[in-house]
Amino acid sequence: MRGGAAASGARAGRATRSRGSAWGLYLALSAISLASLAPLLYMARVSFGAGSDLPIAPADWWGHPLSLEHYRDLWSGGPMARFAFNSLLVTGVAVPIQILLAAAAGHALARSGFVGRGTLLALATAFLILPKQVLLAPLYLLFASAGLLDTYAALVLPHLADPFGVLFMAHYYQTLSPELEEAARTDGLSASAIFWRIVFPVSGPGLAVVGVNGFLTTWNAFLHPLVLTTSESMRTLPVGLALFAQSEHRVDWGALLAGSTIATVPVVLAFLLFQRQIVEGILKGSSR
């Protein structure tokens, strides 16, 4: 992991030159970090402002009064509370199921040979890079014909097909030695006992990657929640916010950015707790 240490080793030899360049380095990194976070700080600042105008310049940030007005409006009047509830519900249901499916299917794919295993792996890998937009029209028609448009089932079910977690766990189990499982089998433990008592407890690190990446994709999901819901009360936060911004009326930026801030808080928390797992997921091909 620490490739940067190599650069530092050589630098120590040229301490005099590197002191100046170290300043430059940290100055540059600070500037880039600021540029990277500034739009979000702006979002949060506007959301804690008052009135419907955008505070114009960062110079006015301090002078402009702080207020919870936009959050109060969102919670009392608008549908935003409902959007947030829907997002929480869908994520809360879909992600634990995704984790269980990934563990069970990943383990089966890693440890047993069955007819069609190769085909399934190849298809799943292909779906990692498949543009998901291809599925929109057929998913809409399938859910419509099943009478499931505008339901929580429509919001949750498509997430369960995601192949990333399964492929990731299959790979994860392949790197684990099967000895313990085989010993347990010789001792006469049933297949399900082996899975729950021996395999599942050591799956934590892998499942954390699956879980947090599943959380991000589910929480941020936009396309199928947009297409498979029709009434305002079934919108999730990203869909509700996006449609809110498109409304014919004058856009209430304060409220909109307050909603955006609400949608961002869980992402910040997940990021602070699981940054390493998020990076690992991205390096292993989790779609954003």
Partner: protein, 288 residues
């Protein structure tokens, strides 16, 4: 030997994957050969390749492809250069590397809806950017309303949102470079610049090509940005393939035509992947 484990564990996920992945894909292919409007299902006709022919003759299709091409040409060099520079700065940081990496990478975890909303507020007629211009005594710029500026405005947002993501990919590639190789180069008296050019850069070639490919594939799939910021306008100047597809499928209910567009997208992206295979061979996989 794969023996004794329970292949049944794969079933729950395999069912979900079949119903919400594989089957819709097959359904989309079938739809693409039909003239099908769910509101007039009785008038469904098999039209063979007519939907594809219509798409290939439609100005909107070509406009969408041209938009994508502009997008790639405009963003890729900038994104790639910045991501490379940011990754090499991060690789040199000894102190607070974790903080800088987190700050720079964070936008990659954010919802594209939230990013688009924040930039929409920045680009608004009364937004921050125009506020700054006014304060400097300059006239207002119609960032999203001017057909010549709308696409570049979206491109700037895309660059902001993806530099950190690609920087992390490139940084991970740098860290697979063996330390002793760098050390040997320095002992030979190569300058930092020569080390970068003769050792690091060639080592990163597969990762960089992968970033080029990923960025191009993502450009073909741009949707949320356009949905939130411009709805394809003004004057179709930001019409992308996926927005066109969405518009045909869900405003005009031309499911057959939209599915043909979807498969054209699939063919384009698949073609890019084949080219990648050809150019990179198996090295790209290792680099990930």
């Amino acid at each position: 030997m794969k023996r004794g484990a329970r292949p049944l564990g794969v079933l729950p996920w395999a069912l979900a994957f079949f119903f919400f992945g594989v089957a819709p894909l097959a359904y989309a292919l079938a739809l693409s050969f039909l003239d099908y409007n769910p509101l007039r299902a009785d008038r469904t006709v098999w039209v063979g390749l007519a939907n594809y022919a219509t798409a290939l003759q439609s100005p909107s299709f070509w406009r969408a492809l041209r938009t994508t091409a502009y997008f790639v040409v405009g963003t890729l060099p900038v994104t790639l250069t910045l991501a490379y520079a940011v990754a090499s700065l991060l690789a040199r940081a000894r102190r607070a590397e974790t903080f800088f990496r987190a700050a720079i990478f964070f936008p990659a975890a954010l919802s594209m809806v939230v990013i688009s909303l924040v930039f929409k507020s920045l680009y608004a007629e009364e937004g921050l950017l125009n506020g700054w211009l006014a304060a400097a005594g300059l006239s207002r710029i119609h960032w999203l309303l001017d057909p010549r500026l709308a696409l570049p405005s979206i491109m700037i947002m895309d660059i902001w949102s993806s530099v950190g993501y690609y920087a992390i990919l490139i940084l991970a590639g740098r860290k697979t470079l063996p330390d002793d190789q760098l050390e040997a180069a320095r002992l030979e008296g190569l300058s930092a610049w020569e080390v970068e050019r003769r050792i690091v850069f060639p080592h990163l070639r597969p990762v960089l090509l992968f970033v080029v490919l990923l960025n191009t594939i993502r450009a073909f799939q741009i949707f949320i940005e356009v949905f939130v910021l411009t709805r394809g306008g003004p004057l179709e100047s930001t019409l992308t393939l996926v927005y066109h597809l969405y518009d045909r499928a869900f405003y005009h209910f031309e499911m057959g035509y939209a599915s043909a567009l979807a498969f054209l997208l699939l063919i384009l992206v698949g073609g890019l992947l084949v080219i990648q295979r050809y150019v990179l061979g198996e090295r790209a996989r290792e680099a990930r």
